[in-house]
Subunit: 315 residues, 2 copies
């Protein structure tokens, strides 16, 4: 008999709900605007758990929720950039009031890591580093075959690691953190800086002005083989590699999965990140090569991973 | 019945051999000059395993060896700064030829981490970060209650993490790695720089010249409550904290144990590191406090931990 699990990803603008079989097959999918505030969050998730089961025509055995931010091991949302109104909010315990099923609330990058490990680009790899490049940087780890959450649930906040202690000040208040350079926001800032300096004429022409430059203008120029855009990507990839190499020294993964929105750039990004990681890692003579591969689960990875983490609650 | 285990630490100048009970009690201890070259390494260890058992009057059930460097999960020394002649050297397999006992070869910081977890300042802590400040920086991790080695055995090479990508070039060839600033060598370099600038008169007077300044001159000035030495220590502690905070974001430990030779400075160092970690870590409002504590196992920690890792082979 097939078991089913519900997986949710509460994102910055939308909630994605999935019903997933124990083989990882998505049998039902639904999107809603993301909730605002504590009560609406609980109400939306409670309603969706009922509705997606009815719509899919199956009963689920457990529920998993992925959400950006610092999620405690007991499933409390300590802080989430996506729903800033949730502070020290015991989401899992409150859901237990309406969802009479085993329920887990986890960080979205942790969930996405598990999806890639169970179903995607990290299958069969016991020591896996997942790096999601989006608005910021999210990371997750499978260590010795298990998802690693840390003592309090906050492991993998690697976007904050300082790589340039005398660098500029990030919106977080810290000088020179990795995600200031190596996220989608970092790529946008770098592109605007280059455009102002006259180094990205094709991108500038497509966007109209430096301030209007977005990721898609850079992606478009890359697709058109604009050499300036490729030079920009190379510098950006070296920024990605600085933090990635730091994480390699700490964790010694066997594989690195590159995920998040910037993965839409695809192979050009992956290849340059691999180049810089290989070039800058010390001890290349004795160190087995660590492949950097593109994530395979796409934008559903966090919801899918949340469903797979729910599966682990009951199996 | 008490079981016994042999633990070795092959250091930069000496090999320390211990016979340890399964409760962690040291029943015999011996020091030899460290071996040179592959054959001498194997010969010395084989002889010592026999001799320390005879001298202690007990038979050991397993043998553990700690050595600085990149040690593969199969116990090969890929590279060791202490015995540079050992490259891709299958030490564990070669020892099996003469030591007819379960044998493990591990990184010395990994072994010291396990000693602190089993017997010292990290007892009862499932997610532990150990940071040894010596000539360089060594780190080790207990994660979810288990020692973590990484996919290849190279986890915890955290001294290499880049914290100042536009900083000076380290002897490793990398710009701005943590251990260039936050190791004993880093403290010495900082002290000499301050001395030349006239900022450490008491230390300078004790050492005779800036070039002659060693750690003990700084320690001596700290013990005499020299305000300049305390100002130096504060800057150094902030350097330690940058990398330590990076590791906290990645691993989310419940406790941090500060080990290595610089621990001789003691509480003044611990207190300033704790200060800077607390001050600079983001999310202090929701994050449980992470205590930084001094290691308790002293200079025998790697040999003791190697014996305890050997114990785990047979229990």
């Amino acid at each position: 008999m097939t078991d089913y699990f519900a997986g949710f990803d509460i994102g910055g603008t939308k909630t994605l709900a999935l019903v997933v079989s124990d083989h990882g097959e998505i049998v039902h999918e639904r999107r809603e605007l993301r909730p605002h505030g504590p009560e609406e969050t609980v109400d939306q998730l409670c309603s969706l758990v009922s509705e997606v089961q009815a719509d899919a025509g199956v009963a689920v055995s457990a529920v998993g929720i992925g959400i950006a931010g610092a999620i405690s091991r007991s499933g409390s949302v300590q802080f989430s950039p996506n729903i800033p109104e949730l502070v020290d909010f015991p989401l899992r315990d409150l859901l237990a009031g309406c969802v009479d099923l085993p329920t887990i609330v986890d960080n979205d990058a942790t969930a996405a890591t598990w999806a890639e490990h169970q179903l995607g680009a990290g299958r069969g790899v016991d020591d896996l580093l997942y790096v999601a490049l989006g608005t910021g940087i999210g990371t997750g780890f499978v260590l010795d075959g298990r998802i690693y959450r840390g003592a309090h649930g906050f492991a993998g906040e690697s976007g904050h690691i300082v790589i340039d202690r005398h660098g500029g000040t990030h919106i977080s208040g810290v000088r020179g953190p990795w995600e200031m350079y190596a996220s989608g926001s970092g790529l946008g800032a770098l592109a605007r800086e280059w455009a102002v300096a006259g180094r990205l004429p094709a991108v500038m022409a497509a966007a109209g002005s430096a301030d209007a430059i977005r990721g898609e203008h850079v992606s478009g120029a890359l697709a058109n083989d604009d050499p300036d855009a490729h030079a920009l990507l190379d510098v950006f990839a070296s920024d990605v590699a600085v933090g990635m190499t730091n994480l390699m020294y700490v964790l010694d993964p066997a594989r690195i999965v590159l995920g998040g929105g910037l993965v839409d750039i695809g192979e050009p990004l992956r290849a340059r990140v691999q180049h810089w990681v290989d070039k800058t890692t010390l001890g290349g003579a004795f160190r087995p090569h660590v492949p950097v591969v593109l994530a395979e689960m796409g934008s559903r990875s966090a919801a899918l991973g949340a469903a797979m983490l729910a599966r682990a609650l009951v199996s």
